[in-house]
């Protein structure tokens, strides 16, 4: 194993992962990249059919023609979420072809990807570089994966592709609709999911690109979110996804009284602190609490006659409602969480498809998230220094991906509405199990028992000093949770590193260690 060094957040991290040199985290905005962007080989039309028909018999044939061999990196995307039928098939096919040591580079994995475990066990897949949750996270945490997992944010993934840190040999794009040339989008077909935001960097930088669709349409398939000019082969299958598992038919505001209380406190804080204002830019997720915050914010905006200039998706019916009722001017969207949102993209001219994840890329000419006024995020743990963890649980197990979380931390006001404890598991620790985001970027923590403002936000502390909201220090909140839950033991972890957590600039901010059972 390579040597360990202490990085800028005080974590011991290796200088080499999976045989490649890596840079330990240096601090926010401290690492400056050099060189030129990575580029795929130059293709020529000589090799492609003049009639534009790139349809090929099967995925197996396509993989063979792409020259699938041992050690290659295969990328996939999670816009089909837990209804994805394509990813697993790729590795089943690779196994059939006797290929070994592949690197799976998904934009995220879902519980439906559990069958990949057998390919990790048999050696078809060496490692996963991407988020992993549920059974895959457990498998990795127990030290059973051959290679070391690498977790990146959505923006970090784009950065890694662009910088050539990850070189994709074959990108496989599940497309809800495609023409024979490979122009694809997600607006139509049985597996329509709205947008394909995760896939754009991949088809531009991969050596080979395969589109897999269950809905072959006539040329030209417009809009072409996947540009056929980048596509090598089109494979038509019976089904790429299970519709009811792709988009939740409907997203729901939480019914939990405790979470509603947290949402209400958050909205009141936003209003009193004047973070919420006419023309503000905002982003909130599709979780039940976030939706409730959106609902309260919508009410406040309506009351005041204000309007949010811009909302970033993932969009939901609640965001669409804001757009349609005039409390939001634009939605920019890289993923649609429910059917109303999918329909809105087609219907509302101010509901824009936008590859937000490219815009999250830290190695680009401007960071979209740093323009945001309000950023609502979650976390499994935070610590008294406001560091946040989103990938591991307090028992040490890797159970979530980073998603866009790290990228979104760059917003002007980052707010984490979280319960103080979940089934006796306190959320505020002395030290988070895994640092995914440095504390200096997290501004406000809203719990059902009080709100903590990061001491570095002197402006907010001053502004809220006469507020009747329950403003407390983070130490007070931690003590309150501990008084209720009792003191807890730390998980037993071995020295063995099972996963690395990348920061948005490609440096290593922390590692995940094997859990001792």
């Amino acid at each position: 194993m390579s040597k360990l060094v202490k990085n800028a957040v005080g974590r011991m991290v290796p200088t080499e992962i999976n045989g490649k040199e890596v840079i330990p985290f240096k601090g926010i905005g401290k690492h400056r990249p050099s060189g030129r962007k990575y580029a795929p080989p130059i293709p020529t039309v000589i090799d492609y059919p003049e009639d534009g028909n790139k349809v090929i018999g099967s995925l197996k044939e396509a993989l063979q023609k792409c020259g699938l061999k041992d050690g290659m990196t295969i990328s996939t995307h999670h816009h089909l979420r837990n209804g994805d039928l394509v990813s697993n098939t790729i590795f089943d096919t690779a196994a059939e072809l006797g290929v070994k040591d592949l690197v799976w580079f998904p934009s995220a994995s879902f519980p439906c990807n559990e069958p990949i475990i057998k390919h990790l066990e048999s050696g078809v897949v060496n490692r996963i570089e991407g988020s992993m949750n549920g059974p895959l996270g457990r498998f990795v945490s127990q030290g059973k994966m051959k290679g070391t997992a690498v977790l990146r944010s959505h923006g970090g993934r784009v950065q890694a592709i662009q910088d050539g840190e990850v070189q994709i040999d074959i990108a496989i794009l599940a497309a809800p609709s495609s023409d024979a040339f490979g122009n694809g989008n997600a607006l139509n077909g049985p597996s329509a999911c709205g947008v394909l935001g995760y896939a754009t960097a991949d088809f531009r930088y991969a050596d080979k690109v395969i589109v897999v669709t269950d809905n072959l349409v006539d040329f030209p398939n417009m809009p072409m979110e996947i540009e056929g000019n980048y596509v090598d082969y089109v494979v038509v299958v019976d089904k790429i996804g299970i519709p009811e598992k792709i988009v939740s038919g409907t997203t729901q505001i939480t019914k939990s009284p405790d979470r509603l209380l947290i949402a209400e406190l958050t909205a009141r804080f936003l209003q009193e602190s004047e973070i919420l204002k006419d023309g503000c830019y905002m982003q909130a997720g599709a979780g039940g609490t976030s939706l409730a915050i959106g609902h309260y914010v919508h009410q406040i905006l309506k009351e005041k006659g204000w309007k949010s200039k811009l909302g970033f998706g993932g969009s939901t019916k609640y965001m669409v409602q804001m757009l349609e009722e005039g409390t939001m001017e634009h939605i920019m969207d890289a993923q649609a969480f429910d059917l109303d949102a999918v329909a809105s993209i087609d219907k509302n001219k101010n509901h824009h498809q936008y590859p937000v994840f490219n815009a999250y890329n830290y190695h680009s000419k401007g960071n979209l998230t740093s323009m945001m006024d309000i950023m609502i995020l979650g976390a499994t743990e935070v610590d008294v220094n406001f560091n946040g963890n989103v990938v591991t649980h307090s028992d040490g197990y890797l159970l979530h991906g980073i998603g866009g979380w790290q990228n979104c931390l760059h917003a002007k006001n980052v707010i984490l509405p979280i319960p103080l404890f979940r089934d006796r598991i306190p959320v505020i620790k002395d030290e988070v199990t895994t640092i995914c985001g440095p504390g200096e970027m997290i501004d406000i923590i809203v719990t059902e028992r009080g709100i903590a403002i990061n001491p570095k936000r002197k402006d907010l502390i001053e502004k809220m000093k006469d507020s009747k909201l329950p403003i407390k220090t983070i130490e007070e909140l931690k003590a309150e949770a501990e008084a209720i839950c009792g003191p807890s033991q730390k998980p037993q972890l071995s020295d063995e590193i099972v996963a690395a957590i990348k920061w948005v600039d490609g440096t290593v901010i922390d590692v995940v260690r094997k859990v001792v059972d």
């Binding site: 009284p257 209380l261 307090s394 089934d423 006796r424 008084a483 009792g486 003191p487 807890s488 037993q492």
Partner: protein, 410 residues
Amino acid sequence: MSNKIATAGNMGKKVRSDCFVTLELKDSGGISIEQKSKVQVMYGESNKKLCEDILSFFKIKNAQLTIEDSGALPLVIAARIEAAVKELIDTDKEYLFDIIEENKYTSEKEQFRFSRLYLPGNTPSMMLNAGIHEPNGIILDLEDSVAFNKKKEAQLLVRNALRGINFYGAERMVRINQFPKGLEDIKYLIPHNVHMLLVPKCEGADQIKQLEAKIDELKKQHNVERPIYLMPIIESALGVEKAFEIATASENVVAMAIGLEDYTADLGARRTNEAVESFYARTRMVNACKAARIQAIDSVFSDVGDMDALRENVKTSKGLGFEGMGCIHPRQIKVIHESFAPEAAEIEKAKKIVNAFIDATEKGLGVVSLGTKMIDPPVVKRAEKTINLAISLGLISENWREEFLHEQAG
């Protein structure tokens, strides 16, 4: 001993913050503890110590104890184990945690009782965060929300909750079982700073008197000096007829409630949203309460999803003279508070009274008067509460008096 295995608690996919314990007493082999816990990594060691401590407290030397834990707090685990122990062993010993400092407050006869939140007495997950929603009172319910075979373990859980769960200033109430079964509940309550007992299906002053006698006995035994208030619930035709008698049965009866589900069933009528069928009962009860100078409290509103209908309901209720209402969901609290909130005229009157009181105190006068009218201390107290409530609801500012004096002068 014929039965050597006992169980207590709850398990299942939806169960949270609880545990299910199985205790088997043995003749030899020492203590063996098996835990299946989702928080094993964090609390496995401390839970094991707790189990050992409880078993040793009850002098159990040989046993197999299995705990299926869904994140139960120690006070829950302890209640469950004690319940299992008491299924198998006859003992009066009680395994008690210290009562937490935050739980040592008392309540007053005159305090507002707009909202009281019902919490099923055998469901720990609903108790933990009840107080943060700021109801005027919380009710740990031993009666209808607890299954018949779970009554005993609920007594222990409620006892431990009274000692260990912070309800953040809410009046601490327990609904005991119907007379005479409820008499068995109170020894688990009186020594643990319960503020008020709700007496369901009350049908006569004698029931209150017998209950009081038992309470007094326990108070003496445990050196409890403060009063234990009572809120009888009228839930039958006979109860309605006896309303005044019940309301005046003891000075500790400070409020009386009506329960319409059972009452309409007793009438043989269907409960409707318009509530015409219970109009007589409600007005009769309100009248009895007012005659007895106690608070009249309305039934719960059961459609937890419909806040508009709840708001209407509270308005009607307030119009009839009711001063509070039960809640079965925390989201109802805010609506109920807002709807029972003092109206502008009420607040103006309270301002005048409180101002006169402050004036009198500053001048060292023993008597408060407003114009030519003398004001009794309870009236001042009530006015102060109205003011505090209006402040807490954001209806007036904390500096209301400055503004008030300014207006008077101007």
